[in-house]
């Protein structure tokens, strides 16, 4: 355990994990409220095109994820803002196109090098992020949290009763777009940490647990962030520890442990409370 807490890679992982979970958890509560889990998962997959492209052109992987996700979120919102079904269709179309691009980019990348981009993009790389990524993570997290704090009341009203929000003078479309930007940041952050494929687990999982535990909206948002941090740190510790007991002395993936903890906690609370 002493090596765990003194290792700089672990420090980075714990810090990144904290920020990622502190963004994904609260954003996820609104994702569930708005019934946009599909959009959330799609954004993560769409982002792989940006993540893969960043390896090709040599920029930071988070920058790749964020820029593609923000553009995709804007396209999804403008293509089908007014109707849920249009939104799902628009999301599906953008998703297909982006995954095609990401297949191409990952192919080109593996042709030219052996950085393991495919595994990193799809399954995350929290232990190998390096300190250069940290400022980007801090920046993206600050934007997402600041945005969410700023719009949380109109967003709640617009998510529960859009007609009512409109009548009260809330710019419903603008608030929805602001939320999608926060969502794009959240899934980009979790994609970098635990991988694009698994990032939905960190977005929806802690939020799904939190809304079972409490009836209060703000408490749910805070609890979701806290649960996210707990499972992320727990996952990091277990993955680090797995080096010692896995048969091949290879660390098992952090993503696996985080997702497992989410699942166990979700099942536990589902059986536990019905508040």
């Amino acid at each position: 355990m002493s090596t765990f807490l003194s290792n700089p890679a672990v420090h980075t992982a714990l810090l990144v994990g904290l920020l990622v979970a502190a963004v994904s958890g609260p954003v996820g509560v609104f994702t569930i409220l708005r019934g946009q889990s599909f959009a959330g998962h799609s954004l993560a997959d769409i982002g792989t095109a940006g993540g893969a492209a960043s390896y090709l052109i040599g920029t930071n992987v988070l920058v790749g994820f964020v820029s593609v996700n923000v553009v995709a979120a804007a396209l999804m919102e403008s293509a089908g803002a007014n109707r849920a079904r249009n939104r799902d269709v628009a999301t599906g179309v953008v998703l297909g196109a982006a995954l095609g691009l990401s297949a191409l980019f990952l192919h080109l990348e593996t042709e030219s090098s052996t950085t393991g981009a495919t595994i990193d993009v799809l399954f995350g790389s929290i232990f190998t992020l390096g300190s250069t990524t940290v400022p980007f993570v801090v920046g993206a997290a600050a934007i997402a949290i600041g945005l969410l704090v700023w719009i949380h009341r109109p967003l709640m009203l617009a998510s529960v009763a859009p007609d009512l929000a409109g009548a009260r003078g809330v710019p419903v479309g603008l608030v929805g777009a602001g939320y999608l930007v926060a969502l794009a940041m959240a899934v980009s952050l979790s994609a970098v940490a635990i991988g694009a494929i698994l990032s939905t687990a960190l977005l929806i999982g802690p939020a799904a647990i939190a809304i079972q535990l409490t009836r209060r909206p703000l408490a749910a948002v805070v609890a979701s962030g806290a649960i996210g941090v707990a499972v992320t740190w727990g996952g990091i510790a277990l993955a680090w520890n797995s080096y010692y007991w896995s048969s091949s002395h290879q660390q098992w993936p952090v993503s696996f442990f985080i997702v497992s903890l989410v699942l166990v906690a979700f099942i536990g609370t589902s059986f536990g409370s019905r508040r």
């Binding site: 949380h152 009836r215 909206p217 749910a220």
Partner: protein, 255 residues
């Protein structure tokens, strides 16, 4: 005194005339029923009154002034919204959104006194509609009638002069319907809130309505119930013969 004045409002949507020279007034503290079948234009009229839709002609005045979006004088209960049972939102939280749900920015650091007065405001609104009992339950797990009370509390928490309700009685059983009607009548009588309530069935409202705005094919006829719900008046409104029948105290319009 005239509270709401709707004057010669025309709305055309996609080439179809939805509102055709709609005009009526509502005085302070009046209980008005907006009656018409589905598709008569009731929701469109609400959207115009709320400032969400600009009419091609005509105007809406609230206390003699052109209306602005988010008019604090007007409270609104939209058509039934689907609330998920797992929504982390208590009835009192939804009413609280009626206080400051439109505000941007971080949650204000309220002094203890301000926090208590906000809580009192919410409690009063819940009590006024008889919803105190289930104030702390998840709003999505309440019955249709209970949810409707909470929505009304949300609309009156900011002390409006006029309350607009869009089909609040749809899909309610008879006893819930009567409870909601008596809650509204009490708000109108005790707090002097003018009420404009839309419904496709006028009968539950007959005992409490001061005036009726009868809507058909985008046109309206207004007056006291006895002046409007008559065979000649409604036939002229529909522009084809209809008959008003009274069956065991219920009014039926037969086309």
């Amino acid at each position: 005194m005239t509270l709401l004045e709707v004057d010669g409002v025309d709305v055309r949507l996609g080439g179809r005339t939805v509102l055709d020279g709609v005009g009526f007034t509502i005085d302070d503290g009046q209980f008005t029923g907006l009656i018409g079948s589905n598709g008569a234009g009731k929701t469109t009229l609400y959207r115009v009154i709320l400032g969400l839709l600009d009419p091609q002609a005509g105007q809406v005045l609230v206390k003699g002034r052109p209306l602005a979006r988010r008019n604090p004088l007007v409270g609104y209960v939209p058509q039934k919204i689907a609330l998920d049972p797992d929504l982390p939102l208590r009835a009192r939280d939804l009413v609280g959104l009626g206080v400051d749900g439109h505000r941007f920015g971080p949650p204000p650091i309220l002094s203890r006194a301000r926090r208590l007065s906000r809580r009192e405001q919410v409690d009063q609104a819940l009590a006024a509609v008889g919803a105190s009992e289930f104030a702390d339950r998840r709003v999505g797990r309440l019955s249709g009638g209970e949810q409707q009370r909470v929505m009304i509390a949300q609309a009156i928490v900011s002390h409006p002069s006029l309350l607009l309700l869009d089909e609040p009685l749809a899909n309610l059983d008879i006893s819930s319907t009567n409870e909601i009607v008596s809650v509204l009548a009490k708000l109108c009588r005790d707090q002097g809130i003018a009420i404009l309530i839309s419904a496709h069935d006028m009968n539950p409202l007959l005992p409490v309505m001061d005036r009726i705005v009868y809507m058909a094919e985008g046109r309206v006829a207004t007056g006291r119930t006895g002046e409007v719900v008559r065979t000649d008046v409604l036939s002229a409104l529909y522009r084809h013969p209809v008959e008003v029948l009274e069956v065991q105290g219920r009014l039926l319009v037969v086309g």
